[in-house]
Amino acid sequence: MAIFSTDPILQVAFWTGAGALLMTCLIGLQTIQLRTALQARQRRERAFVAVWRPALAAYVLDRDAPLPAALDPRDRIYFLKLWNHLQESLRGDASDALNACAHALGCDAAARRMLARGNRAERLLAALTLGHLRDAQAWDALALLAASGDSVVSVSALSALIRIDAARAAQDYTTPLLEREDWPLARVTGMLLEHQQDFAPRLVQGLADGTYAMRARALRIVEALHFPVPDDIMARLFAPPPPGNLLIAALRLTPTPALLAQARKLAAHGDWRVRVQVAKVLGLAGDRADTLQLRTLLADREWWVRYRAAHALAGMPSLAPGEFAALRDKLADRYARDMVVHVLAEKGQA
């Protein structure tokens, strides 16, 4: 019997099978090679961490502690990952010691090269590094990245710019901060936390001058960072009456007499979410005279307004102990009475 058939169909089937077998073997070899390379990298990283982590820990506590003789360029990425990890958890002298170590090892220049020529992951690592190093030479390259459409890369570059020179970053980037909805608010507020004195005046100005979308975003940042809003800006924010979402965001600011005055005018607003915030402001900053409006809100058609009004009344310092409980018997509206009972039960006073 012949090994190779002369039948063309069988020949096609044979060579197709042989090709598939060859491809399977090649993919298998490639998988083994990738796996082996990954394991080798992991072994190398573990060996690197075993040497450098105690060295960095000792150096952070005492700059006279010896560092390993040199940093192998192949280990630079591992070093920067470990170094940035420690930088994120340490501050003060410890952070300065880490910076001194990175400068001594030439990591500033290496990070600038990575920022210019590296892949996306390397550019992110480089931006983070240069921010911690407060490397002014990297400003222009980071500014280019901050303008990119890649949300993660651009916000990381902005974070580095703020660390390098917060006053200059506030001047150049307050408007983009308010315009770029793709920059996560939590990340943005975290970045501004330590640089409030530079950003607060510009963000507050954004409340007065920005578009509605920018003002709404500015309000959320101002609320998260508890910036004080001057009375004149507050007045401009409410006149002419802005859309409901903006009103809600404005009423969530830390209550001031100016905000209280605005809230009093909005107790009958058509949007129930605005009335919820009004009840909250009246409860936090209002006086005894505001209990009348809160009692009206206690009979609101919307459950959440009644609930917030009841909590506001229950927590008002100007009401004597027991006055809120006594309201239960004075209210004509059944839903208002039910809400008082509900809140009393929540507070264990039913």
Binding site: R53, A57, V60, L86, S89, L90, R91, G92, D93
Partner: protein, 129 residues
């Protein structure tokens, strides 16, 4: 005999750094890398540490729950607790102190400030014993 400190921290690098710092100060360190491991130590038969240093965000059982467990466990009730909280989570500080923690340190932290708080808590615990 060195005083013992329990560190509950899931971040390997930070746990190492804390251990390194505290061992330099001659403390005897035990590390639990998640909430479950810490709970086993708290509810086990071993002696309580002189101080517990707890991260707030932990896998399985968080730092607040661990504070509650420590305060409920006979023999552990008087153990001073120092919490490690993130700077962006101010509410955690109030919650940790309400739960029964003695003090807190905010991440990112200064090693010397952490060491000072550890020494102060241990001294006041020794003073009240």
């Amino acid at each position: 005999m060195p005083q013992s400190i329990l560190i509950v921290e899931d971040d390997d690098h930070i746990a190492f750094l804390l251990k390194f710092m505290l061992e330099r100060e001659q403390y005897d360190i035990t590390i639990a890398s998640d909430g479950l491991q810490a709970r086993e130590l708290i509810e086990g038969d071993g002696p309580p540490p002189a101080l517990a240093l707890l991260d707030v965000m932990l896998p399985h059982v968080d730092g607040f729950e661990l504070v509650r467990l420590i305060r409920a466990q006979p023999g552990w009730r008087a153990v001073p607790i120092l919490m490690l909280t993130a700077k962006t989570q101010e509410a955690d500080i109030v919650r940790a102190l309400d739960a029964g923690a003695n003090d807190y340190i905010v991440k990112p932290f200064q090693p010397n400030a952490l060491l000072a708080r550890v020494r102060r808590l241990l001294a006041s615990a020794a003073g009240s014993a």
